[in-house]
Symmetry: C2
């Protein structure tokens, strides 16, 4: 990693990434995005906030949200994890952090195009969880009954 320009390196490396390899950067990236808080934050910022509309694809209305808004929507997230996860997503360029020096300072977060592209995946995950919940529950009962 010395004389090659970053852009060149990236272009060449694209073919080489394989998330199954422990040392591969794409594996680390996959590890990071395979995180419950990452998925939920992307869903929140991607606009599929309320319940319902789980099955059908509907227009995304990605919207900027304030720290406290996200905190309220993602019931159960600790402030520490929220801040930490938002920072890492900002670091990777998935969202932008904007500070407005209002009365009490206002910080808003918004998905970038890159973040939006990942949002398509996370929205799918959330929808899957909600639509197949009943099936999974049935399978669990079944399994527990068999192994009792």
């Amino acid at each position: 990693m010395t004389t090659m320009k970053a852009a060149q390196k990236r272009a060449q490396a694209k073919v080489e990434y394989n998330a199954f390899l422990a040392g591969c950067p794409s594996r680390q990236l996959l590890d990071r995005i395979s995180d419950k808080w990452v998925v939920l934050i992307l869903c929140a910022l991607g606009g599929d906030n309320s319940r319902g509309q789980t099955g059908a694809a509907h227009a995304d209305t990605p919207k900027a949200m304030r720290y406290s808004e996200i905190s309220r929507l993602l019931a159960g997230v600790s402030q520490k994890m929220l801040t930490q996860t938002l920072r890492s997503l900002e670091h990777d360029g998935l969202l932008t952090r904007t500070v407005t020096p209002t009365v009490p300072v206002t910080v808003s977060y918004e998905l970038t195009d890159l973040g939006l592209s990942l949002h398509h995946m996370t929205r799918g995950l959330r929808n899957w969880a909600q639509t197949h919940m009943a099936e999974v529950l049935a399978n669990r009962e079944n399994y527990d009954a068999r192994t009792s």
Copy 2:
């Protein structure tokens, strides 16, 4: 009404589950599937094993794999986590575990239809990680340069 058909039940349940609520079962399910080992195992069993083909969608050839095969493919997974994760996926009905009493016992794992449907999501995640790796790397450099 216990005579409700599964499809109906699912359709109704859809409206009720909301992964944003901390207590909702679908939230717990989302937490479980938003796990790096879950994603990688599903990718492995779903058939997109080798490197390459990062961008284009290609035919899945879900295949049964032995414990040791998975262990070898997912470099870096500990035996404990592999066993644990496979059990939880079996418990939820995403894959089947088959023991064949051969010379040294052979255990093979295979995706169920439910697991296969989730595989579509996880494959997307893996592809996303591999195709956008370069972009993320660039964003990180950028971020670090700005905040240095």
